[in-house]
Structures are given as C-alpha cells and as structure tokens.
Symmetry: C2
Subunit: 297 residues, 2 copies
C-alpha cells in the first residue's frame, strides 16, 4: 500500500486521516500546530517536522489547508512538499482553493516531475468521519485512476472532472448553488416570519417536495436560532461567489441570482460578520425588513 | 367513515383519489371533463353531475383544480359546492391558489355554516400515488384535527400553519425557495458548460453535500436535455414569485434573489415560454451567454 502523507489536520483533515489510518495505510502527518496531531499519532500516524519531510517519507502527499496562500506555502514554500520531491511521488491538494492557484501549483509540481491532482471536497466533518464526502478531481486521468482507492476511503461520490484546475472550478460552481440557496432560504424565513408564519413550519414543509435544499436542512435551524458559529464563513462564501463571478466574466456568462447573493454577502462583511457562518446573511435581510425571525411557541 | 367528495381529477387529483378509495372511503367525484373519471368509477367511485351534487352526497368535499378562478368557480359559482351546503359539510381546497382567494372563499363558506381549510400540497403525481405529499393547512384547528385522518392517506408531512389563507401563503414561500433554487441551478449549469465542465458532473457532485437541491435533482437532468414538458410551468412559477413579492411588499420584506429570479421568469414569458416547464429559465441564461448547455461524451 502507498505510504500516505497528510498535511493539515483541521476539522476535516482530522476525520479524513482517521479514515486513511483505518484502511491500514502507513501515514505520516504534519500540521502547523503540532498539538492537534496528538490523537492521530497515538492511533499510529508518524509525525514529520515539515511538509518536505512528509514528502520524503511518502508516495502520495495530500494537502488540506485553509486557502490558496496556505496551499502554496506548504507545497511550494521553504521546506515545502516540492523540496521533498522524489521519483514516484504524487501530490493531491484537497483544499478549496482558486482554480488559477491549482493550475499554477500543478505546473510547478510538474516541473519537479510530480503529477498533481486538485481534489476539493463537499461535506462536513461528520460526513468526512463516515467516508461520505463528495470529491471532484482535476488533473491527469491516470493519476486519478491510481489514487481512486485512496479517494474511496474518504468519499462516496468521486468524480474526475478534467484537467488541473477543473476540480476547484467545479467546487466554485457547487458553492454558487449553495450560496444562492442559502440566500433563498434566508429570504423565505424572513418573509414567513413577518407574514405571521412560524419559520419552523417553513423548515418542516420544505423537508419534502421540490423545494427541499441542503441549505435549509443544514442552515435553516441555525438561522432560526441565530446560531452563527462558523461552519463555512461569510468571508469564504463571499470569496467563492466572487471567484465564480470572475470566472463568469472570463467565459461570458450572466449570473443574476449569484450576483445579488454576493451583494448580500458583501453587506454582511461590511457589517463585521466576515467570520460568522454564511447563514448569517439572514441578519442582513432582517435588518432590511426591520425585523427578527421569531419562532412561535 | 366520512363520505368524501372530490372535485378535479387531473394529474394530482387522480392519484389522490386513488389513495382515498384504497382507504375504503365512500367517494363521489366530479371533473370538468367526465371522461377522465372513467378509471376511478370502475374502481368504485360514484359520479355526480355537478360540484353541488358532490357536496349533497358528501361529508367532506375536496377541491383540487387549476387556479384561483377555477377554485372560486367550482366552490362559489352556479351549481357550486356551496349550493349543496348542508349541516356537517366540511370543505377542503387543496389547490395552490392566492391566499386572498383562500380567505375570501373561506368567508363565503362560513356564511353558509361550512368550515373550510386551504390545504395546498408539495410533491408530484408519483409522490401523490405513494401518499407522500407535503400538505400545509390553513383554517380552524378543530377542522384540521377532524380531517387529519384523511390528509394522512395522501401526505407524509402534514402541517397546520394557522388561520385561513396561511396554508396557501406557506405554499408561496415554499415556491419562492423552489423558484430561486431553479434559477441557481440554471446559472450553475450554464457557467459549468461554458467553462468547459460537463454539466452532468455538476449534477453528480451536487447530489451530495450542502449544495444539494430538489431543483437540481428533479430539474437538472431536464435542463441538460432541454426537456421542457411542463410539470410546473414558467407561467405558474412567475405567478407564485409575483405573489410572494406582493406579500413581501405588504409586510415590508426585501427579497433580492426572489426579485431577480422573477425577472428571468418574466423574460422567459416574454420569449413565448409561458407554458413550458419552469426549468426552461435556463434558455434565458443560455441566450444571455450566447451558448447552449452541452453534455460531453
């Protein structure tokens, strides 16, 4: 079995590495904060002192860090993965980063003879722990095929989209739908509440039929409770809709609903909510309507 | 068991009446076109020559006709349900009509001593045949409680929302989410296609994770195939979003994404697509981007 290296043990990474360990892959890890790796090391993972050292000890290195800058740093920076390049190494970046950055990193990896996949995921830590992520992959088909058994330990829906950058592009498109759906759900809850309908009943009825959305299922209850602890922040959703709109500009597509949803996210940012969960867009709509969503009892 | 009368045997009504018959309720029916009642009469339903005659033969009359005007006609018109009023009669209108009309009909029924429920549904003929509709009900709680066993033959999620008109109001809010979600899905598919990603892969990846929507599941495949045979028409979706925006105007709520989605529906209407399925909004976006969504092979 391939020796796997994993860089980035956050909420998602800690669950994904657990799945890899359970599948008996030899695993070496690195994380910016070493203390987060404690449980994993107890469970059998080895620690390495840098991304470079992870690469040197591995056949496949997976990176799962915060954003484009962090991916570039741990892969292309000093003591990064590419400095540990060796024949037979494969690189998989599973972070949700800008498609341009995916393509740029892939090119630099190729320069060192390392094939790279961009393979961002959909899901959450719970789905990650169950191996039920969605994984959309850009990069060489033969590299995808070779890595498929590893992906299958983490995901339930694994798609090869196309060349490098296409995985992260599809992730933007996925998040476009999510961003607009969250806006739609927020509008519906505020309208219901101000029209005298318990928002809880909107949640109930839209759990069946054509209006059902992941946005209502996962975000609706938190919108109603004003629980804005961040799962996916306003700032991240704003960034992704902006990236989708930038892509739309490049290829010449009009996105009316995505545009207006981005404007509401920008307002939330301006109101100091950048680090709250993206479902806090409901507070922008509440303020516009001079109301607060109320559950009846 | 109550004797049930059912008026309106269309795509939905024909499935709902089948469920009622299977539950052994005595059933009397009327439909504008009698020939559509043939199968039902063979299965044990009685035919009556008018909505009035249905009411005379029933304890509970259910109406399930096209729109506000049709509901008003079969209930309040000549030879309508109210002309067959008798002590103990209950009226349930399960059509998706304007909340004002629900309230107006309820008031006229009350004048004849007849309690009325507005009880529009979510779902489709397949879900209706399985008794898996969502049913949202406005009207007196005691009438709702009395009719619950009947609703339970047709639906899996049955909610008493509030007084008369609240069922049809919640249906508008449900359709607001559906209308915006369909717009979001259309935008995503056009963007993906023009950015060189097979729209089929958008469909696949959004079947899991937070971006999943009923809109993509039920409409995505038809958008990609340009199968616009009407399940719920552009005209109906435009009408419902317009009604939701009218309600928003009345109660003072801003609905940015619903507004822009309604504009695209209006464009589709202007382009002669009123009677096509609402998922044909994708053709408006395709024309704006001078493209056609293409499945790769």
């Amino acid at each position: 079995m391939e020796r796997i290296g994993f860089i980035g043990i956050g909420l998602m990474g800690s669950q994904m590495t657990r799945r890899i360990l359970e599948a008996q892959y030899p695993l070496t890890v690195w994380n910016r904060k070493k203390e987060k790796a404690g449980a994993l090391i107890s469970a059998g993972a080895k620690w390495a002192d840098s991304p470079k050292a992870v690469a040197q000890a591995s056949d496949v290195v997976i990176t799962m860090v915060t954003d484009s800058a962090a991916s570039e740093e741990v892969i292309c920076g000093e003591n990064g993965v590419l400095e540990g390049a060796h024949p037979g190494l494969t690189l998989i970046d599973m972070g949700s980063i800008a498609p341009e950055m995916s393509r740029s990193i892939a090119e630099r990896a190729r320069g060192k003879g390392i094939p790279m996949l961009d393979a961002p995921v959909t899901g959450n830590p719970k789905l990650a722990s169950e191996g039920k992520l969605g994984i959309m992959v850009g990069g060489p088909k033969e590299t995808f095929d070779a890595c498929l058994p590893i992906f299958e330990k983490m995901g339930v829906k694994i798609i090869h989209v196309g060349e490098n950058g296409k995985g992260t592009t599809l992730k933007l498109i996925n998040n476009l739908i999510m961003g607009v759906a969250i806006e739609a759900v927020a509008e519906a809850l505020v309208l219901a509440s101000k029209a005298g309908i318990d928002p809880q009943k909107v949640l109930e009825i839209t759990s069946v039929g054509g209006a059902r959305t992941g946005a209502m299922e996962t975000r609706g209850p938190r919108m109603i409770k004003h629980d804005f602890s961040p799962h996916f922040s306003i700032s991240n959703m704003h960034k992704d809709l902006s990236s989708a709109l930038k892509l739309a500009e490049e290829v010449g597509v009009s996105l009316p609903a995505a545009s207006i949803s981005r404007e509401i996210l920008r307002a939330a940012k301006s109101q100091g909510k950048a680090d709250l969960d993206s479902c806090s867009v409901i507070t922008v709509l509440e303020a516009l309507a001079n109301t607060t969503v109320q559950v009846k009892n």
